[in-house]
């Protein structure tokens, strides 16, 4: 299978005058098989790229929704090795870019070289460690380069231009823009300062921008795409559909499917 690069994926949607829709799920939430089916549902309903969380016991960047998903996944037996098996299984039915979102301790514990090597072999396109700022990322960036994995970083409204420059120097694939001041979680409104941040980045760089944290409605997707973002990442709002339908898998997949279609449609103008 020929895995699509982020560059190609963002160009593909741009040519259609759309933004990229990037849904998120924690590998193994609520269990291995169901989460596979959920990702299939993502792909069948318009996902342009995927964000797959590897669960961590202490996810400081995340709100209660993602943490609950992490706990469900860990309780179902998910671990780093199975996480990579999960990605391999995804590669049996999709070639769109897959980003792994995790925390640095999982990478450090396995060993940087081993982690990135296995990631590549499993079909991972990019890795983002939520608690790894550029200052600490030297070795990681080297390992990523060595194994042909893109390393994604985050920027927030509070990120100064000076830091932004540093981040842009080492960030590849896309830049993950944090939409709100705070942690992940579904929210009602997208802050105006997010719009300003997107413009600030566009002034400095050509790198594709995907906005995440707090994007929970089709209107939010529309707003950030209109503000110049190349993609929108939706996490907590999707995970809520898992939480709400744990007893009824069919309904869970149905609801996720129709929600994804709405979100994807919102990326088209």
């Amino acid at each position: 299978m020929n895995i699509e690069s982020y560059e190609d994926a963002f160009n593909r949607v741009k040519e259609k005058k759309e933004g990229a829709f990037i849904p998120f799920i924690v590998a193994g939430d609520p269990d291995f098989q169901t989460s596979l089916q959920i990702v299939k549902t993502f792909v069948e309903n318009g996902a342009d790229a995927l964000e797959i969380g590897f669960p961590f016991s202490d996810p400081v960047a995340d709100g209660p929704t993602v943490q609950m998903a992490d706990i469900r996944a860990l309780e179902s037996g998910m671990n780093t090795k199975k996480g990579f098996e999960f990605i391999k299984s995804l590669r049996e039915f999709t070639d769109i870019p897959i980003g792994v979102l995790t925390y640095y301790n999982l990478i450090y514990k396995m060993g940087l070289d081993d982690f990135y090597k296995t990631a590549k072999e499993s079909g991972v396109s990019a890795i983002l460690a939520a608690d790894l700022p550029p200052e600490e990322a030297n070795y990681v960036v080297k390992a990523a380069k060595k194994h042909g994995i893109q390393q994604i970083f985050m920027a927030a409204q509070s990120t100064s231009n000076e830091r932004l420059e540093k981040i842009l120097e080492i960030c590849s694939g896309f830049l993950y823009v944090v939409a709100v001041m705070g942690i992940t979680g579904a929210r009602n409104e997208i802050e105006n300062s997010t719009v300003k941040l997107i413009q600030r980045i566009k002034d400095q760089s050509e790198i594709p921008i995907a906005v995440g944290f707090g994007i929970s409605k089709p209107e939010h997707v529309k707003e950030v795409i209109n503000a110049g973002a190349d993609g929108a990442i939706v996490a907590s709002a999707i995970l809520n559909l898992i939480t709400e339908n744990l007893q009824n898998k069919e309904k869970m997949l149905q609801n996720i499917g129709s929600f994804c279609r709405e979100l994807k449609n919102a990326t088209k103008d």
């Binding site: 961590f56 016991s57 202490d58 996810p59 400081v60 960047a61 709100g63 209660p64 943490q67 706990i71 860990l74 671990n79 780093t80 090795k81 925390y103 640095y104 301790n105 999982l106 450090y108 514990k109 396995m110 939520a130 608690d131 790894l132 700022p133 200052e135 600490e136 970083f153 985050m154 920027a155 927030a156 509070s158 990120t159 100064s160 830091r163 981040i167 944090v178 709100v180 001041m181 705070g182 942690i183």
Partner: protein, 390 residues
């Protein structure tokens, strides 16, 4: 940031991008005020008049005779709120005031640091909120009430294991969206840079006083300094006075719990390298890097991480760390109560248990024990263990 916050390879600042500006602002302010004359004058005033410094270095005559060593106790238990924690909360609270922050948040396990923060919030009239795992809220109702009496709001944390590490996670989450107005007052020499460096700075006063006092009493340095290690602040405070004096042994007593084959909190003795709460240090974790729960009879040593400078001192062999089991700590608790009329905190009892073991092999040595806190908070635990109904 101006400094990298590394102790050898340990330490650093492994936090989400959102928190970096908050840490940068804090580092800048700390580096500015730590040598500021007015700041230090005010801090010294409060340490003396409010907290009760200096604390005595007490020669424990009866215990010395019993154990066959010269034993001195650094009496941090005599401080206001009953533990060394207030040295740090005064320092950081004042720093928050100088930074113009209008709200304090803190994490707490059993409530010691929460109380020390709550009283500083009251003293400086800064509204204070304390994150506390809901399990701990349930176990430590009295301390929750004490915090509330000082005007603090206690936020029970329902996430994860609902204990100290989850309280820390939630405090960081709060801070990620509130750092404009809020200072996060971390309670030990852990967390991302600049916390380990800053908390050590504010706890240094223990080591400085102790060194002056022992030289005055004995005319020479001690053979060994022993302190208990949770996050590592009381130990780092007293060690800092002697780190340069290579002939002085430094020993950290970790929460040995049921022993290393059972549940424990011996992060350095039995943990592995990892990243938790913003720094690279030793942690208790499984093969995948998922953080384990710690266990110790004393809530203050019940933490699966440890300050990065301790990891560094251990790797250099400058300080040694040993597990002290629940049972050994209880023996230490009773020993000090019976022989000296001083009821120690269960945390500090680990240092006493350690000293007892050390004395057995090293007769005639001069030992300083950091008595980090008093044991009033723990008497009901002891009563329960001894089958006494209160």
């Amino acid at each position: 940031m101006i400094l990298d916050g590394k102790f050898g390879k340990y330490g650093g600042a492994f936090v989400p991008e959102l928190l970096i500006p908050a840490l940068e602002e804090l580092e800048k302010a700390f580096l500015k005020y730590k040598d500021d004359e007015e700041f230090n004058k005010e801090l010294k005033y409060y340490l003396r008049e409010f907290a009760g410094r200096p604390t005595p270095l007490y020669y424990a005559k009866n215990l010395s005779e019993k154990l066959g060593c010269k034993i001195y106790l650094k009496r941090e238990d005599l401080l206001h709120t009953g533990a060394h924690k207030i040295n740090n909360t005064l320092g950081q609270g004042l720093l928050a005031k100088y930074m113009g922050k209008t709200r304090l948040i803190a994490e707490t396990g059993a409530g010691q640091h929460g109380i020390a923060t709550a009283v500083i919030g009251s003293l400086l009239q800064i509204p204070t909120e304390v994150y506390m795992g809901s399990e701990d809220v349930e176990r430590q109702k009295l301390n929750v009430f004490r915090m509330e009496l000082s005007g603090a709001k206690v936020n029970p944390v329902e996430n994860g294991s609902r204990t100290l590490k989850d309280a820390i996670n939630d405090a960081f989450r709060d801070w990620a969206s509130s750092s404009d107005t809020t200072h996060y007052l971390i309670g030990s020499t852990m967390g991302p840079h600049p916390y380990p460096m800053m908390v050590k700075h504010f706890q240094r006063v223990i080591g400085k006083e102790t060194k002056t006092q022992i030289l005055k009493n004995e005319g020479k340095l001690p053979d060994v300094v022993i302190a208990c290690v949770g996050g590592g602040s009381n130990s780092m405070g007293i060690f800092s006075g002697f780190i340069e004096d290579k002939e002085v042994e430094l020993i950290g007593a970790e929460g040995g719990g049921e022993g290393l084959n059972g549940k424990h909190g011996s992060t350095i003795s039995a943990g592995t390298e990892g990243i938790l709460h913003g720094s690279l240090s030793f942690v208790l974790q499984n093969d995948d890097g998922q953080i384990s729960e710690a266990h110790s009879i004393s809530a203050g040593l019940d933490y699966p991480g440890v300050g990065p400078e301790h990891a560094f001192l251990s790797s250099k062999g400058r300080a040694k760390y040993y597990p002290v089991t629940n049972e050994e700590a209880i023996r230490g608790f009773k020993l000090l109560s019976e022989y000296e009329g001083i009821i120690p905190a269960l945390e500090s009892s680990h240092a006493i248990g350690m000293a007892e073991k050390y004395a057995k092999e090293n007769k005639g040595k001069t030992i300083i024990i950091n008595l980090s806190g008093r044991g009033d908070k723990d008497v009901d635990i002891l009563a329960k263990l001894m089958g006494v109904k209160l």
